[in-house]
Symmetry: C2
């Protein structure tokens, strides 16, 4: 286990993040030296391209395509493909009855859309190897797909996420992300909105806009800022936040997508170098599609990056409360001072 | 990845559990055959007893003892020891100021108790190898420690949990569990109470009492019942619930502790046999210490067992919503039909 705290003067703290609306335990006694956090389990499943259905030329091994970029379905030189997930968690072919089949709980038909975004035709290219402009195109593919999905009135929330590396859940090493469109508003999103509302009712301000004025800034571009959140749930967690208040990710324009792509690239490279190419997830934390006008002033989307450095245990599963051994003040130093090659 | 559903007629469902107050996605397309669920990564850290501080005779390698069972601190033939955690997440030596150090969030001093329960002096004995009566003694050790801790008015909730196996978070293979006493009520507990209150306000009944009448029963003893919850978050998740309505685990008497020990033993043996000795966690889901009188009629404790069979990905981390590939109706069949040796 851990060696005692680096900064022996530090005492444990509980911090409540106004944005996620959660308490996190910061535990110096459980801190490991930053070097201990360097990931030891870099890689994941299907590392060879031989049987990879996501590779260029193997399109026939995939579930049906929704669109490709550039948007010519006959073009074999595609850059990005958005396809149906072959094993979807929710199905586009299910009726949408609100079961209420009585006790003990409520049941909804599992209607929804579950897609895969193949970010490149080339097996060995990872997102952090791509140009900011190319990552921008992936982000615009998410946006386009969300805009298609939101025409369906039954979809309440669209979760975009990426798994990279086996211990981040990825079953494929070919660079990809997923889009899961839900007929409910998931718990993290409700909790986030409740917290922001409370803050807005008290102060008249968006809590994420306010948080950007704090010290925990890693980098900044024309339109985005990357920070370590004040009460980060996970060690070295990063948020990329639009500087201008904005409720929905899918409002992203081309110009901002390229800007965001560049900053995302920088953050992925920074965690790769500082934490030894860790498995990671990123998630787009946006607002419900049918957000109310009254909610707009405190709904602010962001992109959450979580390097997977330590597992969970019974405490987190049972309580929903997390222990983070790395204070955000320390994490931000590690992420600021990086000499990129 | 998965092969398509076993029961091809099944469609995905979203189920809302009235007890946990959460939606879970049940996805037949992501179902693997039961054999695929058999754990492949059985074991964990320090498998040898040579350097294990939890072994009998190595008491001096541990953080200070709180008590042992039988309660004679000079007795080298102890059966159970409750000790301080050497790397506590929260500290008993911290003042308890409600920081409010201003923006961006709230800060509390990290006051709390974090203990380890060594369940046996013998390195090779696991909980499921022990008699029901012996497991009952471990449960009574939890109870005694909670009763000591609850004298401190700043403690709001006590989380008892066990990690078994590396992918369930255990850094030690010597059989142990942990007790973490918190100055806040954790999110899962608040959510659970809110859900039960809603149900109680509507029906005048405790939702967990009601859920026990359903079909998803695995086994039953004089005082306890084991079920697969209607909207289980995890595949093969099991709850052991007291048959009589009861808010707090620490109300357990000696007689019921032995009864519960026997049922817990049976459940651990069943998952071991049916799922190939998987890593697992169990958590005691009890009520806040200072629960209000008005909350008592709908606060009902239970013990939650979670075999660790599949990891999480960005979807769960981002949304707080879970995908369970195994319908509770199928899990309960697997857990009912076991020939124990
Ligand atoms: N000599 C000694 N004397 C007294 N105590 C000693 C000791 N040596 C070690 N300990 C303590 O013994 C405990 C053993 O606990 P576990 O192996 O169940 O998981 P751990 O708490 O390490 O982390 C898992 O559980 C936590 C909580 O769920 C998760 O945060 C984490 O990610 C997961 O790996 C540790 O907490 C450790 O601090
Ligand atoms: N030929 C093909 N055509 C189209 N699609 C194909 C395909 N072959 C496979 N797929 C799909 O491609 C996806 C690849 O996704 P990932 O590797 O990121 O994680 P996966 O969804 O398997 O599970 C991880 O992420 C989820 C969600 O977070 C967690 O529930 C889970 O535990 C974790 O392992 C899978 O969803 C799979 O169904």
């Amino acid at each position: 286990m851990a060696s005692p705290a680096q900064a022996p003067s530090r005492i444990p703290e509980l911090r409540h993040d106004p944005v996620t609306n959660r308490w996190v335990i910061f535990s110096p006694a459980r801190a490991k030296r930053p070097s201990d956090f360097k990931s030891k389990t870099p890689q994941s499943a299907n590392p060879s391209s031989e049987s990879c259905p996501f590779c260029g030329g193997r399109e026939h091994d995939c579930a049906p395509e929704i669109f490709r970029v550039p948007p010519d379905s006959a073009n074999p030189n595609w850059k990005i493909r958005v396809i149906e997930n072959l094993y979807p968690a929710l199905s586009r072919n299910v009726a949408v009855p609100d079961g209420e089949i009585g006790c003990p709980g409520r049941v909804l038909g599992g209607f929804g859309y579950h897609d895969v975004v193949i970010e490149t035709p080339i097996h060995s290219v990872q997102l952090c190897d791509m140009e900011g402009r190319e990552i921008g195109e992936v982000l615009l593919a998410y946006k386009l797909r969300i805009e298609q999905i939101m025409r369906c009135e039954f979809i309440k929330y669209v979760q975009v996420f990426k798994n990279h590396g086996a211990s981040a859940g990825a079953s494929f090493s070919h660079s990809h992300s997923q889009i899961l469109a839900l007929p409910i508003i998931p718990p993290s999103v409700s909790l986030r909105l409740e917290g922001s509302k409370e803050h807005f009712d008290k102060t008249g301000k968006c809590n994420l806009c306010e948080a950007l004025g704090e010290e925990l800034v890693i980098d900044k571009t024309a339109h985005f800022i990357s920070i370590v959140p004040f009460a980060a749930t996970y060690p070295f967690e990063i948020w990329i936040v639009p500087l201008d208040h904005c409720p929905h990710f899918h409002e992203l324009d081309h110009h901002r997508a390229v800007d965001l792509g560049g900053l995302l690239r920088l953050m992925l490279n920074k965690i790769s170098i500082q934490l030894n190419y860790p498995p990671f997830n990123f998630m787009i934390q946006t607002s419900p599609l049918q957000v109310k006008d009254s909610q707009l002033p405190y709904a602010h989307w962001y992109l959450q990056i979580v390097p997977q450095l330590s597992g969970l245990g019974g405490f987190e599963i049972g309580s929903g409360c997390y222990i983070n051994p790395v204070f955000p003040e320390d994490a931000v130093k590690v992420l600021r001072d990086v000499n990129l090659p």
